[in-house]
C-alpha cells in the first residue's frame, strides 16, 4: 500500500462519517431516536437457519429450475454448476457455480439463495459472500482444495452449512463456525441409505451423551470429547440439550416423498434434495410432493397423498452404492 492510498482511504472514511452524521441528524429532526444496528451477528445467523426448519432446500442449476422450486414451496435453493449426479458422471474438478448464474437466480426469486464452495476454498466463499448469497455450503460434492482444514467460518458474516457423517464431525464443524449441519449421505446416487446411516450415527451419540448428563457422569462427557477430538463445551452442550446444538438437515440421496418423511422421522429438521428432483421426469410434482411430505411426515395419510403425486416410473434411476469404488465416494472428503 502506498501513502496516497491511505489518503484516499481517510477521505472516504471522512465522507462516510459525515454522511452517517447527516443521516442521524435528519432522523433526529423527524423526532426519531437513533439506535445502534448490529448486522449479521451470530444470533441472526442461527436465527436465519432456524427459519428453514420443516422445509426443503432444492439444488438448481439455473433460474428456470429456481422458479419451479419456489413455486413448489421450497424454503430455499442451492445453486450448482452441475447436479451432484452429473458431477459424478462428468468427473474432473467440480468448482463453485458461475457467479452470473447465481446472481440471475438471486434476482428472479424471493426465497433465500445458497451456493456451494469447495472445502477449504476461502476465496470462493469470500466471492459468494460478496455477491450476497444467503447461505454457503462448504461441500464435499465439489472437489476439496484442502484435505486437512476447513474454512474458518467465524470470519464470515454469511452463515455456513457443513456435511457430517457422525456427531464428532458435526461438532468440529460447529466449532469452526458452521451455523447449520447436514448429513453427508452419498450425494448424487438417489440412494438414501447413507443419509440414514449418518443420521442414526448422530442420534445414537447424542443419546449416549444425554445418558451421561442425566446420570451426572461428566467424566464420561470429558472422555468422549477427548476420544473424538471435539471441544468439551460443545459435547457438554449437546448432552444438556439432547439434540444437535444447531439445525440439522438430511442430505444425500433423497429422491421421493417417502425418503424425505423417513429422514424427518429419524430426527432431521428438514431436507436438502439434490439430484432427486431435477434428475426425475416429473420435477414440478415431485418438488411439491416432497415439500408436503416433509411438513406432514408424521401424518401417514398426507405422506400417502404426497407419494401418490409422483410415479416411481419417472424417478431418477439412482446408483447402487456397491458399484462405487472407494475413491468415488464423496462422503469421505473432509473429516
Amino acid at each position: 500500500m502506498k501513502l496516497v492510498n491511505s489518503y484516499e482511504f481517510l477521505e472516504k472514511l471522512n465522507n462516510l462519517i459525515y454522511s452517517l452524521l447527516e443521516l442521524r441528524d435528519s432522523i433526529r429532526d423527524e423526532g426519531g431516536e437513533v439506535i445502534p444496528i448490529r448486522e449479521a451477528v451470530p444470533l441472526v445467523r442461527y436465527g436465519f437457519i432456524s427459519m428453514f426448519k420443516g422445509g426443503v432446500i432444492m439444488d438448481v442449476t439455473n433460474e428456470e429450475q429456481a422458479g419451479i422450486a419456489e413455486d413448489a414451496g421450497a424454503v430455499g435453493v442451492m445453486v450448482l454448476d452441475k447436479l451432484p449426479y452429473d458431477v459424478r458422471m462428468a468427473g474432473g474438478v467440480a468448482r463453485t457455480a458461475d457467479l452470473n448464474v447465481i446472481l440471475k437466480v438471486m434476482e428472479s426469486i424471493t426465497i433465500p439463495v445458497s451456493a456451494k464452495c469447495r472445502i477449504g476454498h476461502t476465496e470462493e466463499a469470500r466471492l459468494l459472500e460478496r455477491i450476497g448469497v444467503d447461505l454457503i455450503d462448504e461441500s464435499e460434492v465439489l472437489t476439496p482444495v484442502d484435505e486437512k482444514n476447513h474454512i474458518s467460518k467465524w470470519d464470515f458474516k454469511v452463515p455456513f452449512v457443513n456435511g457430517a457423517r457422525d456427531l464428532p464431525e458435526a461438532l468440529r464443524r460447529i466449532c469452526e463456525g458452521a451455523s447449520m449441519i447436514r448429513t453427508k449421505g452419498e450425494p448424487g446416487t438417489g440412494n438414501v441409505a447413507e443419509a440414514v446411516r449418518h443420521m442414526k450415527f448422530v442420534s445414537r451419540d447424542i443419546a449416549t451423551l444425554r445418558g451421561y448428563f442425566i446420570s451426572g457422569d461428566y467424566e464420561a462427557v470429558w472422555y468422549y470429547s477427548k476420544e473424538n477430538k471435539v471441544p468439551y463445551e460443545l459435547a457438554l452442550l449437546t448432552s444438556k440439550l439432547g439434540r444437535l446444538p444447531v439445525v440439522n438437515f438430511a442430505a444425500g440421496g433423497i429422491a421421493t416423498p417417502a425418503d424425505a418423511a423417513l429422514m424427518m422421522w429419524l430426527g432431521s429438521d428438514g431436507v436438502f434434495v439434490g439430484s432427486g428432483i431435477f434428475k426425475s421426469q416429473d420435477p414440478e410434482n415431485r418438488a411439491r410432493a416432497i415439500v408436503l411430505a416433509t411438513s406432514f411426515y408424521d401424518d401417514p395419510e398426507t405422506v400417502v397423498e404426497a407419494q401418490r403425486m409422483v410415479s416411481e416410473k419417472v424417478a431418477m434411476m439412482g446408483i447402487d452404492l456397491r458399484t462405487l469404488k472407494p475413491e468415488q465416494l464423496m462422503q469421505v472428503r473432509g473429516g
Binding site: L20, L23, R24, I27, E30, G32, E33, V34, I35, P36, I37, R38, E39, A40, V41, L43, V44, R45, G47, F48, S50, M51, F52, K53, G54, G55, E70, A72, G73, A74, V75, G76, M106, E107, S108, I109, T110, I111, P112, E129, G132, V133, D134, L135, K157, V158, P159, V291, L292, S295, F296, D299
Partner: protein, 198 residues
Amino acid sequence: MVRIGVLSLQGDFLEHIEILREMGVEPVVIKNVADLKGIDGLIIPGGESTTIGSLVMMRRLERPIKELADSGTPIMGVCAGAVLLAKKVIDRVVGETSQVRLGLMDMTVIRNAFGRQVNSFMTELEVEGVGRVRAAFIRAPAIVETWGSARMIAYVNHLRLGRFGAAALQDSILAISFHPEITSERKVYNFFLSMIKK
C-alpha cells in the same frame, strides 16, 4: 390453562412452543383444520412465507383461520407470519408478488426490505404497549403502509435505509416483522396474551 395454537407447517414454530411452555401457557400444534378447535389465540411463526402460504392452501386452512379472526380470537404473525397477514405484499427485488396470503390486515409489507441475509441485524426498539425490546430482524419484511383500523405500534430506524414500520395492530390481530422468539422477549408474548378476552 390458556391454550395458544402455533401454526406448525414450516419455520421456527419450535421456538414459539418452547417459550409458551416456559411461560405456563399450553401450546397447541396446528397442522390441520381440526386442530384449531378450542384455542384462545394463534401464532403464525417465521419461516418462508411462500412455503407456509402454499401449505396453508393445500391443507385448506385459509378460511378457518379467517373465521377464527372474525370471531375475535387474537392472532400474532411474526416475520413470514406478518407477510401472510398483509393485504398487499411487495418484494424488494422481484416487485409485487401473487403469493398466497391470508390478507387479514389492512397493511402493505415489503418482503426482504432490509436486504439479504448478510444485512440481517439486531437492534433495540420501543413497541407501544409493550416497552423496549431486543429485536432480531432476519431477512425481515417492513410494514410500509397501514389503513382502515390497522395502525403502526413500532418503528425501526435503520441508519442506511431510514425509518420503517416494525409492528402493527388491527383490533385483535398483531403483525411483527422481527423475532421475539429468537431473543426470548417475553414482553411481546405477555402483550399478545393480554389481548385474549377473559
